[in-house]
Amino acid sequence: MSHDAGHHHDEVQHGPAGYGTYFLTWFTLVFLTAITVTAAGLHLGAISVIVALVIAMIKATIVLFLFMHLKYEDRLFHRLLLIVIAAMTIFIGLTFTDTLFR
């Protein structure tokens, strides 16, 4: 499934990942949740929001690539994700160039 989907139509297709991978993925996500909750309790000041956001982004990436199978999709899907990230960065970035310098 990693290349053109049309090729493998009549072949037997199995899931991209087994049960074990999903349990490992879930365990990692729970672990990261524990870290983010602990980090919030440490009162790290200004960088605490950055820590929280970085962990949230790591968690989101894990969900996207493993639970949502993006890892096994072709380039088209990866580009779609890049476009969204670029669009959101531009929206937020441009807004701040306005609000921060008023």
Binding site: A5, H14, G15, W26, V30, V37, A56, F96, T99
Partner: protein, 260 residues
Amino acid sequence: MSTQSIALAHHKDYRGSKFGIWLFLITEVILFGGMFLLYSVYRSEHAQDFHHAAGELNTLVGTINTLILLLSSLTMALSIAATHHGNRKLALWMIALTILCACGFMVNKYFEWGAKIHHGIYPGSPKLAAFPKGEILFFGLYFTMTGVHGIHVLVGIVLLTTMFIRVMNQPNAKLSFVAGHGLQRVEGGRLAVLDKDGNTVWRGEEIDSTIERIDVKTKYWPVKERFRVEDFNLLENSGLYWHIVDIIWIFLFPLFYLIT
């Protein structure tokens, strides 16, 4: 008598349907992205007020709901993996568990919102109006964003219940021969049902030129060896929707509950 096998496969555009759901998920990201943008601008302007207001939220309830949603993401992924292994029973159990988690999330949300409203904190309340401006903004964003997210969870419950019923009855394959579209391939023959030794169990009338359409409906459950992703693309797409609901919560949780 000669038999001719015709594959009972409908052509479904698996990749197209998956691309379609991803496009929809992007509109969801843009929808919440707009609200995250509002949040970040107001937060940068009222950092102290946001800080105080977030202290009012119950971190424990937020953490429990995060864990519930993560568990539901696991069961969702497992249900799809189960269909790939031809394990229908496990697939159904996992969808049911996902629905249960979603309901648990909403029950928590109900008590959480209920407690806030009980304390007089709700949009437009007199008590909230007396708060500093930044705290009013914080609670406005809190009710709007977790509210819109909650609506998505409710939609997910309906969607997954539908998927449960579909998978339970699934998949129904329908093969149609219509005049001008493949009917001539079977003209002069008969439809028959054979057992595994090739003995005729049932035999239909001869298909002559007076027949204009034949519909064959079958119900089967794919086994591991003959799995086709197309048979479960709706379940898979519902799963993608459910995971994006989880991702949105992954960002909502630290921004509302952990900035105290």
